[in-house]
């Protein structure tokens, strides 16, 4: 375990060196919040109106949390890095190291995202308060619960992105699959709560990664409920196990292919 702790620490140190590179992402995050604030304020003509039991303030906080998780995952570069490892053969340099490549990817990405997670969390809270003027009703316990579910959401997202990246073993460039995954998350996960979709779609979305990576943590933030917290955590743990097993399966299958090609 100690080696992974060192990888985690070194990634945090490395990200501290490039903190100014986050500038354009910070602007993007702030901009998305600004656009959605304008959009929802336009849709809610009366500030006291409720749509699907969400007030305008709750909707903006919902987007703030989902976009926080979405931006903190920074999936595009990460997925691209895995694809390049597979395509260029760089993967060979990881195989002979005393760690598991999947564990390495997961831990190094979490380390790289650690600072982003904290910075964007603070920025989102500040911007949300600035735009709405009030916080949802939360206690210290419920804030901690939301943070735990947000961290687990990033772990699940990371595992699913590793799976998509490793799909490059099968086709040369799995980037297009990431685009679809990313848009699926953005449209169905970050912009609207599940209640906004038709009943038949809600049934599917409740069992999809959307529930554990976006809706679950954001819903807890805008309307905390202890029972709901338990359900979200259990669903997240199930998804982590499934995601991990999928990554291991595709990696083992892909590496065998790589051995054959390598001769």
């Amino acid at each position: 375990m100690r080696k992974y702790w060192y990888i985690f620490q070194s990634e945090i140190m490395s990200s501290l060196q490039y903190v100014f590179n986050m500038f354009s992402r910070i602007v993007s995050y702030a901009l998305m919040l600004f656009i959605f604030m304008n959009l929802w304020k336009y849709i809610y003509s009366d500030p006291k109106e409720l749509i699907h039991n969400y007030s305008v303030g709750q909707m903006i906080w919902y987007v703030t949390v989902t976009e926080w998780i979405y931006f903190a995952t920074r999936g595009r570069n990460f997925c691209n890095k895995i694809i390049q490892d597979v395509r260029s053969g760089n993967l060979v340099y990881h195989i002979n190291k005393p760690y598991n490549y999947i564990h390495y990817l997961l831990i190094s990405h979490l380390g790289e995202m650690f600072l982003t997670f904290i910075l964007f969390g603070l920025l989102g809270t500040g911007l949300g308060y600035l735009l709405i003027g009030e916080f949802p009703l939360l206690t210290i316990g419920s804030i901690l619960a939301v943070i735990v579910t947000a961290v687990l959401a990033i772990v699940i997202n990371t595992l699913l992105i590793i799976f998509i990246g490793l799909f490059s073993f099968m086709i040369e460039d799995s980037n297009p699959f990431y685009w679809i995954y990313s848009k699926f998350m953005l449209i169905f996960g970050t912009i609207f709560p599940i209640e906004f979709f038709p009943k038949w779609a809600q049934g599917i979305l409740n069992y999809s990664p959307i529930y554990v990576t976006s809706y679950g943590p954001a819903r807890l933030f805008v309307a905390f409920d202890g029972r709901n917290f338990g359900i979200v955590i259990i669903a997240q743990l199930i998804y982590i196990v499934i995601g991990y097993l999928l990554c291991l399966a595709i990696y083992r299958k892909g590496v065998r292919k790589l051995n054959v090609n390598g001769g």
Binding site: F20, N21, F23, S24, V27, S28, L31, M32, F34, I35, N38, L39, Y42, I43, S45, I51, I171, E172, D173, N175, P176, F177, W179, I180, K183, F184, I187, F188, I191, F192, F196, F197
Partner: protein
Amino acid sequence: MLMAVKNQIKVAFLSVKYACMRHMLNKTTFITKVLFMILNDATFIVQWIILFSLKDNVGGYEFKQVLLLWGIAAGVYGVSRFFFYKAFSLSDLINEGKLDSYLVQPKNVLISVITSDVEVSAIGDLLYAYIVLALYGMNFGNFLLFTFLIICGGITVANISIITASLSFWFGKSDAVMDTVNTLMVNFATYPDGIFKGITKIILYTIIPVGLVNYIPVKLLIQFNVNRFLLIIGITLFFMGLAFLIFYKGLKRYASSNLMISRI
């Protein structure tokens, strides 16, 4: 003069053609990228179906007009990233001193650089733009106007990227500025201007000219207006002139990294 311009355009098209052919060597990846980009763009229809189920119009736009906005946004993005893809990584080329191989070419340096590669997925954006126009209601007139407007928009967006990237000649790394401006242009482009008010609206028609590249073209397609049409042409020429001026002014300060690079 006209002959020189004609030759330059011909060389630029050939450069784009050969760059595209290089990417076509792997047909599966090529086709997957194009098709998945169409699918990727199409997912946003879900967002607008839900928003229009809550309100009849959003920012003064009805559903069909939002479709048109998406068509223009996808088309502008497609033209800029397919024909002038390197304009969006120009800052790195300047910083790393990798312009040498373009400087020795007999044609215009800037055009040689920006047309030297293509983004394959941008073909998907372009196809999606015309699919959306077909859904809106295509006829010969609006097809021509739409094509003209996305070409003008694509040129303007590429020129804005060139201007911000050229700052690297003076200030070193300007990629953060370039990325930020490009992000702002893309993100604002797909939301109706009616939802923004006051200072934001002014910024969208000046500092971040999304209004000139996306919103006015949509209004032109809905109702043609000669003044707006001339404004689009004027804006395109203005940014083109400014981009050339700043790039060539900066090029005098260019420092090579003496890297051996071959362009095949």
